[in-house]
Symmetry: C2
Subunit: 484 residues, 2 copies
C-alpha cells in the first residue's frame, strides 16, 4: 500500500494542474465538448487545452491544432475520440511528456474480440511511455473539492464525503442530483470503465488516503484481480468503511455486465464471501449503497445492536419495530431508569415501551429535546431511531389558534421547525450514539430538509432507516474483528 | 357480500349528509377542534354541528349545548372525548336517532383490562340502538371525492384511486403528502382503530364496491376474524386487487401492535399463508404497499413474467436486470424481428440485447417514441421497464449549442421534456403492456414530475420498479387461478 495519496497514480488524475482535451468541439453532438463545458461550469482553475485540427476556439477556449503547440505540458489528457484513434493520441501524449490520461472512448473490450485487440494495443503504448490511465469506456473523474469534473453531466450540489469507484459512469454522473437531495455529495468519484490499466483497487487505495473521503462506495460488475482487491480492502476497512453494490450475481445481471464493461462476473456466493472476508459491507441496491455511506460518514459507530424507537404514531412505530427485527436488530424494553425519567414528559396515553409511542405531544418541543435526550442515555440500547412528522399546516394551525396574525405565519413556521431540528441534532447523547430519523413526508417538506441540513440522516420509510442502522452495526463488528 | 356500497354500514360514514362533533373546541390543544378544521379545509358541503356545553361558536360554526338542539338529526357523530364519556354520548346519539359514529377517543382495549371493559360497554350501548361505528382509537375516515376528512391532518393533493383500510390512522393522515408526491391519492381511507364494531373486512367490502377505488390497500397489525376476512377477500380479488402490509410477524412488531391497537398478531407464516390463499398481495414495506397500488391502479396486467429493459446507461441497465432477476422476473433476449426493427434507430455502440442499452441517443426523441414503440411490440416479453434520465441542464446545453438565446431556454426546456413524456405515455403498445419507469433523479426533477403527470408510474431506483412489476405479474397469476 502507498503511504500518501500523492504517491497514487490517480493523484494527478483527480487533482490535475492542467488538462488537454482530445475530441472536444463546438458541435452539439460532441461528447468531448460536453466534458469541457462541465469543467468550465464547475470552475476548474488550471489551464485547459482543447486540441482540434480546425477550430480556433472551442467553447470560448483557445484551441491547439496539435499537442506539441500547448504552452505547457498538460498534466492530464482526456480523450473522447473514436476507438481506433486512441493509440495514436496516447503515442503523441507520451512523446510530449504527458503521463496521465482518461480514455472516455468506448468500442474496446466491451465491444467484442476486435475491441479487445485495440485495448491491448493502447495498453502497450501507455506502458511504453509510462502513462497511467483510467478507462477506456469510462467517464473519468469528478473531484468537487478541486473543481474537477470530466463527465458530460454538469455537477449539482456541494462537495461531500463519499469517495466512489465505479464500473458504471452513470452511477457517478446520475448520482449528482440524487445525492444532493439528501445534502450528500462525492468527495472524489472515479469511473474505471474497462480497467485496462488503473482498476478499482487502485481507486480504493487513493480514496483511503483522501482526507475529504469518510467512506468508500464501490459499484462492481466484476473484479479482475481478486487477490489484489481483497488485500487492498483489508488494509482499508479497519480505518475507513467500504460499501459495495455487486449486480453480477444473477444471470441477467451477469449478461448485462458483460455487454456493458466486458466484465466477467462471478457467482453471488463467491462475491458475498469475498466481501465478507475483507470486511466490505454489501448493499443490495444503489439506494442502500448511499444510505449506508450516509450513516457511516456521519454517525458514531453503535456499541451494539439494540435500537430504541421514538414515535408519536403507533403505525410508524410498529412498522419500525418490525423493520428493525427483520434486519436482525433488537428492540428491547426500556431500562427502569429511563421509564422513570420519561414519565413526567409524556401524556398519560403514551406507551412507555419500545417503541416509545407518545401518541401526541404535551409540549411539541419536548419531542425534539428532553425526550430524545433521555432516550439517548438509555443504558440498554445503542442507537435511537426517531420518527419525524411535523407538517407545516399543523404548525400553522397552532399559530392561528394562538392568535398570531396570518402575515407572520410564514417566517414563524419555518423558524419553529428549524429550531426543533437544530435542538435534536445538537443533543449531547447523539455524539456517542447514532441518531437516525425516518419519515413519510415528501422530500420537498421544509422540516425534512431542515433536519438533514442540521446533520441528522433522514430516511424515507422505516425499512431504509433500519437497513442503514444494520449497516452501522455491521461495520462496528467488522472493526471489532480487525482490532480484536 | 353486499350488492352495492349504499348497503354497507360504512356508506353514511364515508358519505355523511351532516355531522355532529363531540369534543371540538376553540382551544389549540383540542384534537376535536382540529378535526373540524380539517373538514372545513377540505370544504365539506353538509351541515356540521359542534356540540359544546359553553362555547357559542367553534371555529366559526354555531355550537349546540346538546345534541337535542341541532336543527336536523345528524347522520354521523364524531367523538373525540375522554374514554369514560363515550358511552354516555353514544346513548344520547341513540336517543336522538343518530345511527353512525366514529369514536376517535383512545383509552380502550389498547390500554389494558380497564379499557377492555369500557370497550365492551360502548359496544353494548351501540348495539342497543343499532349504531354502527368505526373505532375506538382511530382517526376516522377520509373520502376526498366527497370532501370528507375527519382526521386531524389537513388533506394535501387530489382525490385518487387507492381505497385503504388501516389499523393505523397515521398510515392514512401521514400518507396524504407522501402519495401526493407521486400524483397519487386515496379514494376513501378508513382508520379502523380497535375494531370494536366495524372491522377491516367490512371496509374491504365497501371499497370493493366503491367506483372511485381501483385497488385496495390494507395495513394490518392483527386480524380478528380470519374466516370472515378471507371470505371477503376471496370474493373481491378476482375483480379488484388487494395489497396488504402486515407488521405483526416479528417479535418486535407483535409487541408494538399489541400496545398500539391491542391486536393479537400471529406468526408471519400464518399470515403469509392466509394472504396467499385468498389472493391478497403482500407488501413488505409501506413504500411497497403504495408502489403496488400505483401499478395495479394504472397498468394493464402483463401476460407473463418477461421484462424488457430500455436504457441509455450501462450501470442502470445492469442494476435493473439484476433487480428483475432477484424478483423472479425473466429478462430474456430480444426476438429477431425486434432486433431488425431496432437496428436503424440506434447508434453503432448500442447493445441490442436485453437490457437494450443505447449508450447515447442518435435522436433524443426516438428514445421516447419509436424505440419504446418497437420494444412494446416485442413478442417474447410482457412489460417494458424504462430508464429515465433527462437532466434539464443537458437540454439547456443542447439549446445553447443550437444558438437558442438564453431568455428562451426556460420555456423551451420544459416544453421539450413534457413533449417527450407525453409521447412515451401515449404509445399504443402501452395499452396492452405495462410501461413502468425508474430513475435516480431527485423527485423535484421537472421531467420526473412530467412523466408522472403524463400517467407513467416512475420509481426511485430499479429495485422498487422491479418489485412493482413483480406485483403486477403476481396479480395476473391470482386472476388466472380464480378464473381457471
Amino acid at each position: 500500500m502507498i503511504g500518501s495519496r500523492e504517491e497514487s497514480p490517480l493523484y494527478p488524475i483527480a487533482n490535475p494542474e492542467s488538462v488537454a482535451f482530445f475530441g472536444a468541439s463546438n458541435s452539439m453532438a460532441s461528447m468531448g465538448g460536453n466534458l469541457l463545458q462541465s469543467m468550465q461550469a464547475i470552475g476548474f482553475r488550471g489551464p485547459m487545452y482543447p486540441i482540434h485540427a480546425r477550430e480556433k476556439t472551442v467553447h470560448g477556449l483557445q484551441a491547439y491544432a496539435s499537442l506539441t503547440e500547448t504552452p505547457t505540458v498538460p498534466e492530464l489528457a482526456v480523450l473522447v475520440v473514436p476507438a481506433h484513434a486512441v493509440a495514436q493520441i496516447l503515442e503523441a501524449c507520451g512523446q510530449r511528456g504527458v503521463r496521465r490520461a482518461i480514455v472516455i472512448s468506448g468500442g474496446f473490450k466491451e465491444a467484442g474480440p476486435q475491441g479487445t485487440l485495440l485495448e491491448k494495443e493502447i495498453l502497450a503504448v501507455a506502458n511504453a511511455y509510462g502513462i497511467r490511465f483510467l478507462g477506456p469506456n469510462c467517464i473519468g473523474v469528478a473531484n468537487m473539492h478541486r473543481r474537477v469534473n470530466t463527465t458530460f453531466v454538469e455537477h449539482e450540489g456541494k462537495p461531500g464525503f463519499i469517495g466512489m469507484a465505479s464500473q458504471s459512469g452513470s452511477f457517478i454522473t446520475q448520482m449528482f442530483h440524487y445525492l444532493n437531495q439528501f445534502h450528500l455529495g462525492f468527495s472524489t468519484a472515479f469511473s474505471v470503465g474497462n480497467e485496462a490499466d488503473i482498476d478499482l483497487a487502485e481507486c480504493m487505495a487513493y480514496l483511503a488516503l483522501c482526507p475529504d473521503t469518510r467512506v468508500i462506495a464501490l459499484y462492481v460488475e466484476g473484479i479482475r484481480d481478486g487477490r489484489r482487491f481483497m488485500e487492498t480492502a483489508q488494509a482499508i476497512v479497519p480505518r475507513k468503511p467500504v460499501v459495495a453494490l455487486y449486480v453480477g450475481g444473477s444471470e441477467a445481471g451477469r449478461k448485462a455486465a458483460l455487454s456493458h464493461t466486458g466484465s466477467m462476473a462471478g457467482s453471488d456466493a463467491l462475491y458475498q464471501g469475498m466481501f465478507q472476508q475483507c470486511g466490505i459491507l454489501r448493499a443490495s441496491s444503489l439506494e442502500e449503497l448511499f444510505d449506508l455511506c450516509w450513516v457511516l460518514g456521519t454517525c458514531p459507530i453503535p456499541k451494539g445492536d439494540a435500537v430504541l424507537i421514538q414515535t408519536h404514531s403507533g403505525g410508524p412505530g410498529a412498522a419500525a419495530a418490525d423493520a428493525c427485527s427483520r434486519q436482525g436488530l433488537r428492540v428491547p424494553g426500556l431500562s427502569e431508569d429511563t421509564r422513570e425519567r420519561l414519565a413526567p414528559l409524556v401524556p398519560h396515553t403514551a406507551s412507555i415501551e419500545n417503541p416509545v409511542d407518545l401518541t401526541f405531544s404535551k409540549n411539541q418541543l419536548d419531542y425534539f429535546g428532553p425526550i430524545p435526550e433521555v432516550l439517548l442515555e438509555d443504558k440498554g440500547t445503542h442507537s435511537l431511531l426517531f420518527y419525524y412528522f411535523t407538517p407545516p399546516q399543523i404548525v400553522r394551525r397552532a399559530l392561528q389558534t394562538m392568535g398570531v396574525p396570518p402575515e407572520a405565519w410564514e417566517g414563524q413556521i419555518e423558524e419553529l421547525i428549524e429550531g426543533q431540528c437544530r435542538a435534536l441534532a445538537s443533543l449531547e447523547g447523539g455524539k456517542d450514539k447514532p441518531l437516525v430519523a425516518y419519515t413519510y413526508r415528501a422530500w420537498t417538506d421544509f422540516g425534512v430538509q431542515a433536519l438533514m441540513a442540521a446533520g441528522v440522516p433522514v430516511f424515507p420509510g422505516a425499512e431504509r432507516a433500519a437497513c442503514a442502522l444494520r449497516g452501522l452495526v455491521a461495520y462496528g463488528r467488522v472493526r471489532e474483528r480487525f482490532f480484536a
